[in-house]
């Protein structure tokens, strides 16, 4: 027996408590063509790190209440010339670096993705101006199905998220600002050390 759970009920469930659901292969009016990714993806607890210039990062908890996996393929914001989807990786030597994530951010059906310091995040690569603590910054996420959604994130002071940035050598916009532009020269991850 297959169990079909309507989208509407999924939308109301708390992200953190979400357990894997019994989902049939989507059929009938549950097909992805009827609901866009933008309609089933929500964000909460979002925030963005204050910065005077250079780079910054935004975080939050993304929830996909839909019956299909969705992919965030890109992001943009008036606050930055361009925004990248970043992951943080630890190399065999123990050094932590951040880089663009191949394939974007994948949100499983009915699942969540947490963007947090030390992990995946939205990287604001070239700030148009200072991000002032307390202000709200619009961010637009674009999905694989062509839909997009816009939310605002509040700026707050935060000392962490200072991993070394490793430019993707194949990236079209080759002139990436170096890590030193933000004035942070020491690679560190929050929670590192004693």
């Amino acid at each position: 027996m297959s169990l079909r759970i309507p989208h509407r009920r999924l939308a109301g469930l708390a992200a953190v408590a979400f357990a894997p659901l019994l989902l049939s292969a989507c059929s009938g009016d549950d097909s992805p063509a009827d609901t866009t990714a933008a309609e089933v993806v929500t964000i909460q607890d979002q925030w963005i790190k204050a910065a005077d210039s250079g780079m910054s990062a935004a975080f939050g908890v993304l929830t996909n209440s839909g019956a299909s996996e969705v992919t965030i393929v890109s992001a943009e914001s008036p606050a930055s010339a361009w925004v990248e989807l970043h992951e943080v990786v630890v190399d065999p030597g123990g050094a932590t670096t951040m880089r663009e994530k191949d394939g974007g951010f994948v949100l499983p059906a009915g699942g969540t993705l947490t963007l947090a310091p030390g992990g995946e995040h939205l990287m604001f690569m070239d700030l148009a101006g200072p991000l002032r603590t307390g202000s709200e910054v619009p961010v637009t996420l674009s999905f694989g199905d062509g839909s997009s959604t816009t939310f605002t994130a509040q700026v707050r002071d935060f000392a962490g998220n200072q991993e070394n940035y490793v430019p993707d050598s194949g990236h079209a916009g080759a002139d990436h600002p170096g890590h030193g532009d933000t004035g942070h020269s020491v690679p560190a991850t929050p929670g590192d050390g004693a």
Partner: protein, 366 residues
């Protein structure tokens, strides 16, 4: 909301609700540990900056008080024991100036007039914004103070931090570090709080549900207090040391009889005693007290730096607190051993009724 606690397995897990008509931490039964932190706005602070800061504080306070890590909390594990945490925010005069809201500033909001007994230090006085953090566990207080300070460090600086403690049995009056039962005469019923503490909005509409706070740092000279024997101490205060009963009474909560005289015609409670001088002359001179002891590291050559973080919550400090303070400053036997070294007055906005609001919203959207 007074004494609202959830059924919890342990005291560490007990939550005091953040949302409500009034900010928590005022009528809330006093927790064992407190930190009062005053912040100053950095130059150039605008109305939008202050609103943004208050939204950040509201978000984090609502989370921490229910045992959830703050947004961007780098020590999430330290949020796991809410231990009746309350976070109470107040506004100094500069908030109104910076935000262009002088019209909304209460007439009483500003430094108290000076008293002859004062030896106020700027380092312990005034401030643009106040955060009062209280909890049953000191680590909870420390973490909340850290979180609230670091999320807005580009907008404000810490002006002073006053930490205190109290440890009476629940429902009992605590003792101060002079050894006295301290806090007996107080407001206790919801009716008294509604009449004397909570604004009803008739005078200052945005302050409906809010109140004011006077915080005075009272230094104790324990070295010279040591020289005084128990009988002299009791005459100084007007209460027995053993149980806090007035010298004319049998029980702590007996009404003092200031007219009673002994067989020689001498008043049993000296007119110069603390409780005689502090006594309200009418109902309108009453306020809610919620004091904490402090015992900081002594300076060079000293063995103690102790005293009282005296707090008074009332609708109008000028009408309710000042007359009492003026009588004490004019004369109080206890003044020999106590000195006010800090003083600050804040307007405490109403509570955030529901998630989505922010502290001070009624002022900024008035």
């Amino acid at each position: 909301m007074r004494g609202a606690t959830a059924d919890a397995a342990t005291p560490a897990e007990t939550v005091v609700p953040f949302h409500g008509e009034h900010q928590a931490g005022i009528a809330t039964p006093a927790q064992r540990h407190a930190a009062f932190v005053a912040f100053d706005l950095r130059p150039g602070g605008s109305r939008d900056d202050i609103v943004g800061l208050l939204k950040i504080w509201t978000t984090d306070a609502a989370r921490l008080t229910r045992g959830e890590p703050a947004l961007a909390d780098t020590e999430p594990e330290l949020a796991a024991r809410p231990a009746r945490l309350t976070v109470t925010v107040g506004f100094g005069p500069a908030v109104f100036t910076a935000a262009g809201l002088e019209r909304q500033r209460p007439a009483w909001l500003g430094p108290l007039p000076p008293f002859g007994i004062d030896r106020l230090e700027p380092a312990w006085s005034d401030g643009d914004l106040l955060v009062q953090v209280c909890a049953e566990e000191p680590t909870t207080v420390a973490h909340a103070v850290r979180v609230l300070s670091r999320g807005v460090t580009s907008l404000v600086t810490v002006r002073w931090t006053q930490r205190g403690f109290r440890d009476a049995e629940p429902g009992r009056t605590p003792r101060n570090l002079m050894g006295q039962v301290d806090g007996t005469v107080n407001l206790t019923t919801d009716a008294e709080l509604d009449r004397l503490v909570w604004h009803d909005g008739s005078v200052t509409p945005w302050l409906a549900g809010g109140t004011s706070l006077v915080l005075r740092r009272i230094a104790m000279n324990l070295d010279t207090w040591d020289e005084i024997d128990p009988a002299a101490r009791e005459f100084t205060v007007g209460r027995r040391l053993a149980d806090g009963a007035p010298l004319t009474g049998a029980d702590e909560f007996d009404e003092p009889d200031f007219e009673a005289v002994d067989s020689y015609g001498i008043p049993v409670i000296p007119p110069s005693s603390h409780i005689a001088r502090a006594r309200h002359t009418h109902d309108g001179e009453r306020f809610l007290r919620r004091g904490y002891n402090y015992d900081d590291a002594p300076g060079p050559g000293r063995i103690s730096d102790s005293g009282l973080l005296f707090t008074a919550y009332q609708r109008d400090p000028h009408a309710q607190f000042l007359p009492v303070q003026a009588r004490l400053a004019e004369f109080d036997a206890l003044n020999e051993w106590t000195t006010p070294i800090g003083s600050a007055v804040f307007a405490l906005p109403p509570g955030v009724q529901e998630p989505g609001g922010y502290l001070g919203q009624t002022l900024f959207e008035a």
